[in-house]
Symmetry: C2
Subunit: 369 residues, 2 copies
């Protein structure tokens, strides 16, 4: 499934190709997030020309609406959202545990004292029981049910259910969570292997910010027949801590398997982690930026809502669709709160990410990274 | 400019062609509203395949942002918004007088007792002075400045400044307003004729719901060298009253000139007014409906947010772009509040309107209307 095209002589960076039933993903690559089976403000056909090679959908959101059964009856995510290219789904665990413990951000602010247990009813060895935020329906997420849901959704790459411990946790509780997360992943893998259905499954490396635990997690997971590895769990408070975690993890992962960094995709983090041999990055960063009028460019981020663009009658972008419009028009659309602004800016940022990752691949091929 | 293709033998309905520097408008036709030089949720290139023949932009909004000077420096509205087909602008007066008197709706609710004078500083023979809702800048709108603004915007069809009297007005005040509105239109026409700049100007017929005043307005305006006629002012409280006003007006308009009904474009009103010889209708009705999940179809309006569409995995639309997606997916996008829902539904409704108007033209050609 993973074809190593080139290993840089300068760092652990590498160029590869992930083969999936819906096409090839050239790596390193960026993976935009289409939470509800839709990139915000852009439909799949309009986005096609940008050439997104892998797209990330969130199982939790799709379980809540429209339900995995609806997507399955549609013929799976590819048919449902009209995307004829690779898709990856997560287990749904991240959102459930974020609800239970709060986001890392809110947790850091409250130093772990604030409880967010409104929607999560129970977490046990079996799995997590939570309430749908839409209609209050109780939904049980177990390793088996998460994999079954991901089978119904039909993405090319799926992820086992893991437990995400809160950031503020004692060593004893962390070790318990660490052990459970590996048990859950093994259960997920067994469920997956019973009917692989043309899907591949990435393990999720845990161990928080402790290099020894990260190494141990890799040792446990590489013994199991996973098709690739993602790096999850707590990655620390800062970008430096995150980079240290990644640096301490990738050397313990087998080279012939793809490596995904979960939920990280801002530009400095991508730059920091490619030399450690990360192949794919998912993040809502470029699409979220776009909706705030921040356009990513080779000269750095540009705020199109700034009045300096009001009179600039040349295009600001070379991206599909967006290249037809002047900076002044895009500026005007943002100031007038026109929804087309979000569409055009999102296409620009995703096109930029695709170009950026292509540049990284070129540089690695030339051993410049 | 107006080519009468066929006059129905059954009614005053007619099929025509309006020739403009940016192409031909086949009539009867529907004119979508792109208030801020943008159809809400759809950029001009994405909309191109739908084949909108005439689009309506609002001078008032464009004066406030980005300013007529910015649009002029861009090369005019067509270049600014990247629309290579006819555009019509209004004078800006409607919005200013709505601010002064409140909308007809709020006026009817308050029976004329509520005052909305927050933004309008002064209305005199010279014109109307109002404050920008964005930054409080005072803006003077006179017949001359409105035409100058519309010259800067560069639409194919422009409209003279008229005074809109409030609905609850005594006969004496109505007559004063009636006389002033015609003086303002003549001043607008003089300003326009000083430099037509490839634009044509439609008069605005006034007279409220009084058939005699409507006839008198037509008599005044048809003596002036306008290129077409629009029907404005108060059209009454109900659709029946509106139809009566239109019926009492069009017989007094010269046949070889195009006739536009201002701000009316819901489906029953179009059906009611085509037999009176209306050629074009502008309205935000289909685009507003779309954003609420109401899809217009030959079988009547359809609410895509209804759960009956959750499991319908066939396309709901034959419109460009929208036809690729199932009803279930479109339903899901609305329920998940995804912005792409508004884009797809808007394209569907505008495509439906174009088909509907084409059907009307066919029926008139066959003297069925």
């Amino acid at each position: 499934m993973f074809e190593l095209v080139h290993q840089s002589t300068k760092s652990a960076a590498r160029v590869g190709r992930i083969h999936t039933p819906h096409g090839i993903i050239e790596t390193p690559n960026f993976v935009p997030v289409a939470t509800n089976a839709a990139i915000k403000a852009v439909d799949a056909h309009t986005l096609a020309e940008v050439g997104i090679q892998l797209m990330f959908c969130n199982t939790y959101h799709l379980l809540v609406h429209p339900g995995a059964d609806v997507v399955q009856a549609a013929g799976g995510l590819h048919t449902f959202m009209q995307r004829n290219a690779p898709i990856i789904t997560d287990s749904g665990g991240f959102q459930v545990f974020s609800l239970a413990y709060g986001s890392v951000h809110s947790e850091l602010k409250s130093k772990g004292t604030k409880k967010h247990d409104g929607c999560v009813l129970k977490i046990s060895e079996e799995g997590a029981l939570f309430r749908s935020y839409r209609d209050g329906t109780p939904i049980m997420l177990t390793p088996e049910s998460s994999v079954q849901a991901q089978k119904a959704l039909g993405a090319d790459i799926i992820i086992p259910l893991d437990e995400l411990p809160p950031y503020h946790i004692g060593p004893q509780a962390l070790l318990q969570s660490f052990n459970r997360t590996h048990r859950w992943q093994e259960r997920s893998l067994i469920e997956h292997k019973a009917n692989t259905a043309n899907q591949i499954m990435y393990a999720v490396v845990h161990g928080g910010t402790d290099p020894a635990l990260r190494a141990q997690s890799c040792a446990i997971l590489r013994k199991l027949p996973f098709d690739g590895f993602s790096i999850g769990g707590s990655l620390g408070k800062t970008r430096d801590e995150m980079a240290q975690v990644v640096a301490a993890t990738t050397p313990h992962l087998p080279a012939p398997f793809p490596r995904h960094l979960l939920g990280i995709g801002d530009l400095p983090s991508i730059q920091a982690c490619i030399p450690f041999g990360i192949d794919t990055f998912d993040s809502s960063y470029p699409t979220k930026c776009a909706r705030h009028g921040i356009l990513l460019t080779a000269q750095g981020p540009l705020n199109i809502t700034s009045s300096r663009w009001k009179h600039v009658h040349e295009p600001v972008s070379t991206a599909p669709l967006c290249r037809h419009y002047s900076a002044a028009y895009l500026h005007h659309l943002f100031k007038a709160h026109e929804l087309a602004a979000y569409t055009l800016a999102t296409i620009h940022n995703l096109d930029y990410m695709m170009q950026l990752m292509n540049d990284y691949r070129e540089k690695i091929l030339q051993n410049q990274i």
